[in-house]
Amino acid sequence: MAAGLPEDERHLGPIGVVATLSALAAVRATVAEFATRNGAPIEFADDLILAVDEVCANIVSHGYADPDVEDAAFTVELLARDEGIVVVVRDRGEAFDVQLAPAPELADWIARGKKGGLGIKLIKMLVDDVRYRRIDGINEVTLSKRLPGVFSS
């Protein structure tokens, strides 16, 4: 992916984002622009956008649920690799391990008519790898999505 682009076109951020729900549209637009510029097919980009949006929405709604937190913010960093795109999202909110979080079975979720958990399910469905770590009070979620036909070595 993006073999023809110079290195600085293949790495964006970390971009700082104020942790509000109204900022999610800007994050999606940023991911869309980056993925398209780096040659990602539209379906690939759409899946990645949705997965990143779910991670960021979780940070705003749950990680920074405490209204007393000042300067609630997160960052989004995008890297285009030959095999796909990697997105790293960092925040200083409550610890939440998205990697370990249970994802509901879709049939159960639909039958229950409950909202919770679908975002986690989507993240795990739409990207190939989800990693979480917390270092010095910072949550770091790394999403990797491989191009179709490219396999990890």
């Binding site: 984002v17 109204s22 956008i49 779910e54």
Partner: protein, 147 residues
């Protein structure tokens, strides 16, 4: 640790050509056989509560049939799917029905990823959606006034 946030511009919201990308618009159109909601924008964690409120209003008002015009909906996240599914359940309990009309190919693909294309009744046009409601003694409005 502050360097984490030193990467660049701090984004609050995005405006392009005077249009706020995070805004969502709902207009309601009354038909004899159904209410039609024209939705414009992205149905995400920010905007889905607006749709949820409107759907709850229609539910408490006893609307028997609802068409959601998705032609200008460009995105749906889990929050949006949650609102839609809850509405389908809630309306179903009252014997009311919801149809989705004119969904774009890209948004349809998101529905299909989750298997939601099998749960929601999707129609190519608003008129077709209205005609597909089953009513006893329904009158003749076929929804031809839909935009």
């Amino acid at each position: 640790m502050s360097q984490v946030y030193d990467g660049g511009v701090r984004v609050k919201s995005l405006r392009m050509g005077g249009i706020d990308l995070s805004a969502f618009q709902i207009t309601q159109e009354h038909h004899a056989r159904a209410e039609v909601l024209h939705l414009v924008g992205s149905l995400d964690a920010h905007t889905s509560s607006e749709v949820e409120d409107r759907l709850e209003q229609l539910l408490s008002a006893g609307a028997p049939a609802l068409v959601l015009d998705f032609s200008l909906v460009d995105y749906v996240s889990s929050a949006g799917f949650g609102v839609l599914l809850n509405a389908l359940h809630a309306f179903g309990l009252t014997g009311a029905d919801i149809k989705i009309a004119r969904i774009s190919e890209r948004v349809y693909r998101l529905f299909a990823t989750l298997g939601f294309h099998k749960i929601f009744d999707m129609r190519a046009s608003i008129a077709e959606a209205i005609d597909s409601f089953e009513f006893l003694g329904a009158d003749a409005d076929s929804g031809s006034g839909a935009s």
